[in-house]
């Protein structure tokens, strides 16, 4: 078995995951980032996106929104606003959120509002994408 490292994923409302993993793949600002045991210390921010980690030879997926990761050679911590498993995602709610955001995008907004709507749309799309991909 490959060398493992300790991973903790903490969302604002709960401890999402804590345990030994072999491999972690995250979406960083500028692309995908793979982390294995013994990675160099690193701090980076995570935009809304997908997350996967390898536990006992099995890939687990999660939808994550806005957070950051601190990587150390023997452990990593991810702190995020929300983190959900594909099967936990409320598709209906995400769809509604997407429609709401799209509706707002069509209206005139200030720059700040525009960014907020864009972020909301991103979150909704990300949720829908991940639940469609991994949970049928």
């Amino acid at each position: 078995m490959a060398k493992t490292f300790h991973l903790e994923i903490i969302a604002t409302d709960r401890l999402f995951f804590s345990g030994e993993v072999e491999h972690l793949v995250i979406t960083a600002i500028d692309g995908l980032l793979g982390i294995m045991a013994g990675h160099e210390p690193l701090v980076t921010c995570l935009p809304t996106g997908e997350l996967k980690y390898l536990v006992n030879g099995e890939w687990k997926y999660a939808a994550i929104s806005e957070g950051f990761i601190q990587v150390m050679p023997d452990s990593s911590i991810i702190l995020a606003d929300t983190c959900e498993l594909p099967e936990e995602i409320d598709i209906k709610r995400a769809q509604e959120a997407r429609e709401r955001a799209e509706e707002r995008m069509r209206q005139k907004q200030s720059i700040k509002e525009y960014y907020e709507t864009q972020a909301a749309l991103n979150r909704a799309m990300n949720r829908l994408k991940i639940s469609q991909k991994h949970f049928k």
């Binding site: 604002t12 409302d13 500028d30 160099e40 690193l42 701090v43 980076t44 921010c45 806005e66 452990s75």
Partner: protein, 302 residues
């Protein structure tokens, strides 16, 4: 001796109020349970957030960072201070509101110049209190647009508040930002507390309560330390505000529960006293009637 009808009416009205206080007691206790749960769920996040930021900061190269700007160019008493005050939306929660407002008043008195104080009040009670104060010319301006309730704190609301103050700080409309909220020490003891939000200080990130802190050997930042900091600090501010909101909400429910419990007990006591008084009055009336009848009968006999 008060008359019987009056006492009966009084008992009736106390019984009505007892029903209300009892219902409020039950409601706040169920809300408290919910609030406690969310507090427990968010705590690990905050401790981790604090300790992580602490260790990240230790290794940040000394960059000129926007949110660490101490505003050294402005004299101490000319700095614009912002206060985010978290109060309740409703009264009837014992001394909860009173305590936090008195504490804020004290803080404002300490501030050198009230014209440079800006209040961001969450919760109806506090907002009303400070708006009334503006009218009476003891000024510290209250942001009228800042309309947030304290019921059921959400991360979304916290992020809006954080964005607002960070934005004002960036535009130099505020030089210092403090957060005033009620901290729950244990279930019987609550205390108003101030937390300095901005500008950030390195020592500000104290050790996390659980004492976990891992030394991070020189870390690299992706894409760049500034970028990461620009992203982390708002995240941190949001987290802190959310934590304070949850904590304050928990305190509010706790003190409302205690207050309503006390009100229910004293209503019960009052009813007990009054029914004693009522029975006495009733007996006195009967005795009087008998005496009158006897007196009447005797006078006929004579």
């Amino acid at each position: 001796m008060p008359n019987m009808r009056e006492i009966r009416e009084r008992i009736g009205s106390i019984q009505q109020i007892l029903k209300i206080t009892n219902a409020m007691y039950l409601m706040s206790s169920s809300k408290l349970k919910k609030a406690r749960k969310s507090l427990e769920c968010t705590e690990p996040y905050f401790y981790k957030l604090q300790s992580t930021i602490e260790s990240v900061l230790e290794h940040t190269p000394h960059t000129r960072q926007l949110y660490f700007d101490r505003r050294a160019d402005i004299p101490e008493d000319k700095r614009k201070k912002g206060y985010i005050v978290i109060t309740a939306d409703k009264g009837l929660c014992g001394s909860y509101n009173h305590n936090i407002l008195k504490y804020t008043d004290k803080k404002l008195d300490e501030a050198a110049d009230l014209d440079n104080c800006y209040l961001f009040v969450m919760g109806q009670v506090g907002r009303m209190y400070y708006q009334r104060r503006i009218n009476s010319n003891k000024k510290a301006s209250v942001d009228g647009e800042f309309l947030y309730t304290t019921q059921n704190p959400t991360l979304y609301r916290a992020s809006e508040v954080a964005e607002l103050v960070l934005d004002k700080f960036e535009k130099r409309e505020l030089d210092e930002v403090y957060l005033i909220y009620t901290d729950m020490i244990n279930s019987n003891l609550q205390e108003p507390k101030t937390l300095r939000l901005l500008p950030f200080e390195r020592k500000h990130f104290g050790k996390a309560a659980d004492g976990t802190m891992k030394k991070l050997p020189k870390a690299s930042f992706m894409p760049s330390p500034e970028e990461v900091m620009n992203y982390l600090i708002p995240q941190y501010a949001k987290g802190i505000i959310y934590g304070a909101m949850v904590e304050a909400f928990c305190c509010e429910q706790q003190s409302r529960m205690t207050a309503m419990d006390a009100a229910t007990t004293s209503a019960k006591d009052m009813i007990k006293d009054l029914s004693l008084l009522y029975n006495r009055a009733r007996q006195a009336a009967i005795t009087q009637e008998i005496t009158e009848v006897c007196g009447g009968a005797q006078s006929i006999n004579e």
